[in-house]
Amino acid sequence: MKWSIICVVLILVATIVGVALRLPQLKQRPMHGDEAVHAFKFGELLEDGFYDYDPYEYHGPTLNYLTLIPAWAARAQKYADLSESTLRIVPVFFGVLLILLLLPMVDGLGRAGSVFAAVLTAISPAMVYYSRYYIQEMLLVCFTFGVIASGYRYTRSKSIKWAILAGIFLGLMNATKETCIIAYGSILLALVLTLLMSGRQSGSVLNTLKAIKPCHLIAALVAAAVVSVLFFSSFLSNPTGILDSVRTYTTYFDRAGQNQLHNHPWYYYLKMLLYSKYGSGPIWSEALIVLLAVVGFIVAIRKRPMKGVNFHLLRVIAFYTLAMTVVYSVIPYKTPWCLLGFLHGMILLAGVGAVALINLTQNIRAKVFIGILLIAGGAHLTWQAYLGNYKYYADSRNPYVYAHPTTDVFTITERVEELAKVHPDGHAMPIQVICPGGDYWPLPWYFRRFEKVLWWSEIDTNVMPAPVILASASMEPKLMEYFFLPPPGQVNLYIPLFDTYLELRPQIELRGYVTKDLSDSYHQYQSDKESPQSKGEK
């Protein structure tokens, strides 16, 4: 009993560390294009009170609906009222919940194994980075672990409440991201492989499966279906969403094979976890987790059980992790956040692997040495988590920074906000943003307070040039003609808005143009504002 309390306390300490790494300065990192798109979609739900599931993009509705909670808490009523913290608190919450979900797994992974897994979840740089990222991935990982944890609890208690909870998590997975089918398939495959390995021995998975009451299974499936239907149908207001949730898989299967924009070699994720170094940046590695996971995997497949660990659970996790790693590596379409699913499996195995390493020897000195190595490795992971989130948060030398906007977006936004201060219409000042292929994200997020922004992929000559124009560098020759579109006598003079080279993302330059009179007004305003100060100084 005493050790159980110590274990709970240590997992809570790990949770506090997890919160401390995830919660501060949620506004600091520029919004990624994907985050901004989700924010815009959420803005529609917030303002119109309606969500329409799109089978072609943006994944499932849980992220949008769950963001309503912090938005209401922050008393946000419009898209313009939202802040990065309001949005990013959602993945932070599920990143923290992922640590706490180890509590019901203590008797499955072992007390020490659970504590190690909790600590590694809390400090893993990838886990921390994407817990602060307004996308669905952390929710999916958390719900998947919810299925495993409540499923495991059901096998221990045979209580219908765990069966229903597992069903709810299954439904939430489905309503979060289409890639949940990879996790479903991996869990099923893991169960089958564990079944084959365990044979007919007592307490085997086969006996456990036989002990499942059909009515409990039905209750779980009904719970999953109800949750899924409720979310996809926008709480029964859009029944087509239910059909779309099935139709969507054709889109995603096509994308996995055809969209080459995010094609990467099979070893992309493993290399990222083992060793990454770009330019003069630091070396990034979560090799400790991968190596400990390998040890955990060996423990899982060997015949001799480990004290305090439920071997069938461990084998299910081991095969699940292996299947997830293989499938995600084989699929050419890869984005770094997709590694979270199998990285979490690796972390669970690594928790057991760490204990197995310490128990490898009876020699106290050797145990202390291994313990020191583990502490040093943990400190290194924590240091990387800090660097990745508070120093290299938008730096492409960080392996988890992927097609991320540069901090120049803050400069761009600040300059346009300053112009709005001197424009007669303030935030109703017309702005045109012209980038081929709609490649202007995340600016729609940063310009959310502006009422008249025209987002274009091409110049529309039916509309006169606005006082402020932002455009891709490649648009400049066409813009030169566009500036002279008004009839003689009404042509305005445009000058560059920015003094320096600014990038929306690395390699993607954004240029700005402002009418000279608006620029003059701004400079006049600035000098008026500064002159009392300079007089004071004199």
Partner: protein
Amino acid sequence: MRKKGLNSVVNVSICIMILTALLVVASCKQSEEEATTPTQPEKADTKPPVVSEEPVKETVKSVSDVPEEPVKETVKSVSEPPDVTKVTPPAPKDTEKVEEPVVGDAGTSKWVPIPIQLPKPMFVGTPQDTKVDNLEPPLGKPRPPFYAPPDIKNVAFEKPVSSTDEEPIIGEIEMITDGDKEAADGSYVELGPLKQSVTIDLEAEYEIYAIVCWHYHKQARVYFDVVVQVASDPDFISNVTTLFNNDIDNSIGLGVGKDKHYTETSEGRLIAGKGVRARYVRLFSQGNNSNDLNHYIEVEVYGKPAG
């Protein structure tokens, strides 16, 4: 006893999770209040000083009259028309589209808001990542013309090509000099993974002034370890000149390159030949940032017969 203990752990866990959820929501509420506070006065401040209330009617000076203005060269052309006046947007054709009331400018003319049908931003998927070491910044404009003697031409057109991968995965080696520079399927040849090279036999000695190479430009890719050499013999023993090398770790084995990685575009990569005399042109590469494979759409060699 043990089971009871575990049950209590599970029950405690559930209580902790509920408590944490409540705490996070509460902390979110607090942080939002803090975060939104500074934006309130900002909104109030958006009303500019008097100058903003009416549009400036006076003639705008040309750029040359405005000292210390950071005018880029490319925009200078805008200043060419003299006596440019502030634009007064024309009255909207469809008055129903006018979203704001007409604001007088204290003069005879009317300043009306632009009749904008606000287009919503177009949603796009995750943009492509270009995380590559030693990558040169984009030019941001069309490549400037490359000057060379007037009688030069593409001397590689339909000349024989050989490759280290004799059986390409996609396409035929001959496509590299067939004049087709399109990005579409059917226009490129896909060679196997790891280090690969293609060699073009110009069938005579030429003074080479430029080599233009298109690896693959359907997407913005970066090819690794690009080395371009010319020589007088097919084994590259005599008179070998390296014209381009961005193999920064010498993995090709031809020396450490000092050139930068570059992003493939439809313009291709132009490599200056400086009039070097050679008959054979060889191009190496070792995969790209999307996969391990090597691709070539076209290689052009601009030169004239060696006098």
